[in-house]
Symmetry: C2
Subunit: 177 residues, 2 copies
Amino acid sequence: MSRSISLELIKNEIRNIPDFPTPGIQFKDITTVLKQADLFSFLVDTLAEIFQDKGITKIACIESRGFILGGALAGKIGAGFVPIRKPGKLPAETLRREYSLEYGTDAIEIHKDAIIPGDVVLLHDDLLATGGTASAAVALLKGLDPSKICLSFLCELDFLEGRKHLQEYEVSSLIHF
Amino acid sequence: MSRSISLELIKNEIRNIPDFPTPGIQFKDITTVLKQADLFSFLVDTLAEIFQDKGITKIACIESRGFILGGALAGKIGAGFVPIRKPGKLPAETLRREYSLEYGTDAIEIHKDAIIPGDVVLLHDDLLATGGTASAAVALLKGLDPSKICLSFLCELDFLEGRKHLQEYEVSSLIHF
């Protein structure tokens, strides 16, 4: 028996965890959605409908939750998969980009040979919050000179206005908080 | 123009990185394969052929490289996706399992509500080496009482004999070193 699935239903299935990982943060736990086969398939199909005709050659995904739907989407639309990872995880020559957190800085890396000129790259992550990580990831990608970059998120926290930092790009989020 | 793809070709495309992350380790870098759309699709299709008729309800994937093909496979065969993560990353109630490394110990966690009795679970990771992580992951899964567990790896380092620790289970690896 199959149920009627919508993004609204999926939004309601996302679990809110107060004060995780730090006090004051309302963490959006998507594991409650991902573990349900029909909801997971619906998300992959929905992303594929949006992106399958855009000529995307590679999906660059941010470690580690971005790997999940990003990997599934790459398989579905026939794109290559490129990981963007925490420092020290990628074994070959990398580009690195630091970015600010509320306290201190963090950094992400990409292999220098991950993207070639002419690639049309979709950057995917599970969540767009302040846009700090996404902006750093876009900067990394730009350093490798693709033809085009567009962005995909499962969830977007609209009140944090992360999208303001990404105005040059097409940004798609399936679920808004 | 499409080329003739085989697991042998893919094995040859995996990049060997000597002395990473520590001296003496020959790291198998699969990013050189994942970024090639046709090779990525071939791997997802090959995994799907093996597992699509086994009644798998959930694919439990080990952070973070296991998320990539595991996520793609879950989308392809219509299974739910369950992350097994490093300590402190999963926000709700978890089971935790420690395991030995060459020096010291590490641990992994799974959400207690990730698996329900009756689930048929495929555990997926990119690499089977000594089997320490895989054994710990199987122990976590067993603690949640699924009907059946089987295991899938992209690569297996045969000389480390990790499979010896998993003799009760069906273990499938696509590529052997």
